[in-house]
């Protein structure tokens, strides 16, 4: 597709349920990022992939959060045993170049809004 695609757009989960959020980046983009955006806040970094390698996962808030990108394209963010504080918009962004000492423009998806009841 022409842009970054995320699904589902909206997800309501009961506390304790597992959820999986999907990101389909722009074709050919090597860099993929996940961000968490709480209400009234800016995006907070969760994790970064360069192709299939997860090079930085320092922003994942707990071991309940897990991300993968097994073939270097589509990525999935999984949250196990969801808690109310996990409610947020989860943003995926991709970039055409590796994010080392420099970075290109980040192309964002529309986000997946997770509400945990």
């Amino acid at each position: 597709g022409a842009g970054v695609s995320q699904s589902p757009r909206y997800k309501v989960a009961k506390r304790g349920q597992d959820v999986a959020l999907r990101c389909d980046p722009i074709s050919g983009h090597v860099s993929l990022f996940w961000y968490q955006q709480a209400l009234g806040q800016g995006p907070e970094f969760l994790t970064y992939f360069q192709n299939e390698a997860q090079l930085d996962k320092s922003g994942l808030p707990s071991d309940r959060f897990f991300a993968e990108r097994p073939e270097g394209s589509v990525s999935t963010l999984k949250i196990q045993r969801t808690q109310q504080e996990d409610s947020a918009v989860y943003l995926c962004a991709s970039s055409a170049i590796p994010s080392g000492s420099n970075t290109g423009e980040l192309f964002f998806g529309e986000g997946s809004r997770l509400t945990v009841l």
Binding site: G3, V4, F33, Y35, G40, Q41, G42, P43, E44, F45, Y48, L55, D56, S58, G59, L91, A93, S99, G100, S101, N102, T103, E105, L106, F107, F108, G109, E110, G111
Partner: protein, 112 residues
């Protein structure tokens, strides 16, 4: 830890007024600086960026930003705003490593 501060959370202006949104960051080394914009119902998109060279950067839709290294600032400006500039604006900084760090955002409402 690196951080990005945006001074105003909400700004209300009339059309044709001038705009300046403040952004300060805390990092003493080489930085890449960005402003992203999110129009209502749309995804975040790049407005402008600074990597090196001329500290006055021009972006889309008449926006510009000035990097002042001594003040650790990257303020966004536009001489005359339009109703269509109503959006949320995020300042972002990329330092060493992989992550881009975002400020909390400024919601701009322009009255027609």
């Amino acid at each position: 830890a690196q951080s990005v501060s945006q001074h105003n959370h909400h700004v209300i202006l009339s059309e044709a007024a001038s705009l300046e949104l403040g952004c300060n960051y805390s990092y003493g080394g080489t930085v890449n600086l960005f402003w992203y914009v999110q129009y209502p119902g749309q995804h975040l998109q790049l407005l402008l960026k600074y990597f090196s060279g001329d500290p006055l950067v021009k972006g889309i839709k008449g926006f510009e930003a000035e990097f002042i290294k001594s003040k650790f600032s990257f303020n966004l400006r536009k001489p005359s705003v339009q109703w269509s500039d109503t959006a949320e604006y995020f300042c972002a900084v990329k330092v060493r490593g992989f992550k881009t760090i975002f400020g909390a955002g400024t919601r701009l409402f322009v009255k027609a």
